[in-house]
């Protein structure tokens, strides 16, 4: 039972919140509403996927929000060459930022939280240097990416779903995934077992960077404007919360992909519920605090005293 709560608590919580909303929130059952929730949660889901990988190695990536901003800036700068080019450049930017974090963590040996904190400050600044203010765009391809749907499902939601599957595959079925988990479980042992620890670490941060950049591109496409100043502000906290609420421990050595997505959905539904019921900001924050604590308490590692 307790084990069940630990493993499926997030699902139960999401379900409970859904039931509450169906009962008490007008128009909640509209298809359009579900679309809205999924579309809004997409950037957090994508960022959380990378975050889960990083946390699996016992690390943390605070720079994701700033990397989103950088991606937004690069997208705006290169949109003149077409949407595809702009997106590729943005993703490369994310990869470079991620690699910087990864190198600081693995080769230089700086603690992840500090290394990525420096990036959080610096990369956001860089994004602002590149694009000092919000820039609107009219590129039809990019706007289509943000607003089109396939069989009624928004493109960006499909992208997030595919990425989730990909990451689940990566974690469960590939050598790389196993190595990530092993490194998080015991780095010294992994090193002595001949795992390419440093390379894997860099790659993990690169993946996190690329995913954050992609989230930035999609958010930009949806906003129809590039806004490096405020895009992705504090998203690292939401992503970490999603990962942890999903039952991936901050102490590393375990990654739960599907539950991470559920964790993100939980936080999204929660904030949607509070907004729809028009509660003041103060309430929203206090309720969020309580729910986070409750969720993490229920899904915590047991048996260790």
């Amino acid at each position: 039972m307790t084990r069940w709560i630990r493993d499926y608590g997030v699902y139960a919580a999401v379900l409970a919140l859904l039931v509450f909303n169906v009962l008490f929130t007008p128009h909640f059952l509209d298809v359009a509403n579900f679309r809205t929730q999924l579309v809004q949660v997409t950037p957090i889901v994508i960022v959380s996927l990378g975050m889960a990988l990083v946390i699996g190695t016992k690390g943390i990536d605070l720079s994701v929000g700033s990397v989103m901003a950088l991606a937004a800036a690069l997208t705006a700068l290169y949109l003149g060459y077409g949407a595809a080019v702009a997106i590729v450049v943005a993703l490369i930017g994310g990869a470079v930022a991620g690699a910087a974090g990864g190198v600081l963590v693995s080769y230089v040996g700086i603690q992840p939280i500090v290394a990525t904190l420096a990036l959080l400050v610096g990369v956001r600044g860089l994004a602002n240097v590149l694009v000092p203010q919000l820039v609107e765009f009219r590129n039809p391809d990019l706007i289509a990416l943000g607003s089109n749907a396939l069989f009624g499902v928004p493109l960006i939601v499909i992208i997030a779903a595919v990425l989730t599957l990909l990451l689940a595959f990566l974690v469960r079925r590939t050598t790389f995934g196993r190595q990530v988990v092993a490194i998080g479980g015991n780095r010294a042992a992994s090193e002595l077992s001949g795992l390419p620890v440093k390379r894997v670490l860099v790659l993990v941060y690169v993946i996190s960077g690329v995913l954050a950049a992609l989230a930035g591109v999609l958010a930009t496409a949806r906003l129809q404007a590039s806004d490096p100043t405020s895009l992705g502000m504090f998203i690292e906290l939401s992503a970490i919360t999603a990962v942890v609420v999903g039952g991936t421990p901050l102490s590393g050595g375990r990654i739960r992909v599907a539950s991470t997505v559920m964790g993100a959905l939980l936080m999204q539904l929660l904030s949607a519920t509070l907004i729809k019921h028009n509660l003041p900001q103060s309430w929203t924050q206090m309720v969020q605090a309580v729910i986070i604590l409750a969720a993490v308490y229920l899904t915590r590692e047991r048996g260790k005293r």
Binding site: L223, K276, N278
Partner: protein, 331 residues
């Protein structure tokens, strides 16, 4: 209180105009009353403390206007600091400007309260402070020289007028609030609500959530809003960015221009363009070009003229009638 509907006089390209001409209203302050000494503006160190990153049209235009005017006047030693939205940092910034020997301070305060330490220090050195955009809650002429800026409460009221006009005095309205804890948010909200209560009890406020003055947040909140409150008729956004975010949300939900009336405050170029496109109903201006007025005030002060305790600028408003023609003047 006189509602200003006038478009800017031609040729001034969006210059600020003073609503209460200096010397006519309120107590005035002269150099001798203030207790300072005359100095030469050109050779003096002048400090400008900006509150937020120059990343939105308002702040960009504001800082640029100050710098440009200083350059025009030949002020060689202008020191600019930026508090990056951290109030504690702004206090320190200003103190360090004083320590660098600034003879005149122009401050765009992040917050109206909490200036005690700066005011004390400036007063003891007799450094005149001109605050722009937002007020400082202190005594003019003793603590600081004067305030130049808009009346946010008044802006809220005028937005309410526009909303009432748009809805014909009846309907449901949602408010996209600014950042919580901000004087601007508070005053623009109060002005709006008071005016509705006073003039149009038929217009009810059924929803108010913060969009934190940001476009993306405005979009997200609006998406939730139109889902759960499809009967909404109007949206009052406390700045243009949130209004434009709301527009994106409405577009995404398949709404047509004008389905939901949006009124906002600021007067950025994009917002005025959105009026032209039919998405926004009207925009109350909040003019950030403080440079000319600030330095003109300083010069007058140094020349011994009396300075009013506040210099309220007359904000224009944009709507279908004038949007297209005024596009060039929006910032």
């Amino acid at each position: 209180e006189a509602p200003q509907t006038a478009a800017a006089p031609t040729g001034t390209a969006g210059q600020q105009i003073v609503q209460t001409p200096t010397g006519t209203a309120g107590p005035t302050c002269t150099l001798s009353q203030f207790g300072g000494e005359k100095f030469d503006l050109k050779s003096a160190t002048v400090g400008f403390s900006q509150s937020e990153k120059e990343a939105n049209p308002f702040r960009i235009a504001e800082t640029k206007s100050i710098k440009d005017e200083a350059a025009k006047l030949g002020i060689a030693n202008l020191k600019v600091t930026n508090a990056q939205s951290q109030f504690s940092k702004q206090i320190t910034d200003v103190q360090q400007l004083i320590a660098q020997g600034a003879k005149l301070l122009v401050i765009a305060p992040l917050n109206s309260d909490g200036w005690e330490p700066v005011l004390q220090q400036a007063a003891s050195k007799k450094v005149p402070i001109i605050t722009v955009d937002r007020k400082i809650n202190a005594k003019a002429c003793t603590d600081y020289l004067t305030f130049i800026g808009s009346d946010f409460y008044e802006q809220g009221k005028r937005a309410a007028d526009k909303m009432i006009e748009a809805l014909g005095g009846k309907g449901k309205v949602a408010i996209l609030l600014g950042a919580p804890g901000n004087n601007v948010t508070t005053e623009r909200t109060n002005g709006f609500k008071d005016r509705l209560k006073e003039k149009a009890p038929g217009v009810t406020i059924s929803f108010e959530q913060t969009g934190e003055f940001a476009r993306e947040k405005g979009q997200q909140v609006t998406e939730q809003l139109i889902q759960s409150n499809p009967d909404i008729n109007g949206i009052y956004a406390e700045n243009d960015e949130m209004a434009l975010g709301a527009v994106t949300a409405l577009k995404g939900a398949g709404k047509q221009p004008g389905d939901i009336k949006i009124v906002s405050i600021d007067g950025t170029r994009s917002a005025v363009q959105a009026i032209v496109d039919g998405w926004l109903h009207s925009v109350i201006e909040s003019n950030p070009r403080f440079g000319p007025l600030a330095f003109e005030t300083a010069k007058k002060f140094l020349d011994g003229e009396g300075i009013a305790d506040k210099v309220i600028i007359s904000d224009r408003e944009y709507d279908q009638a004038n949007a297209k023609d005024s596009l060039g003047e929006a910032y």
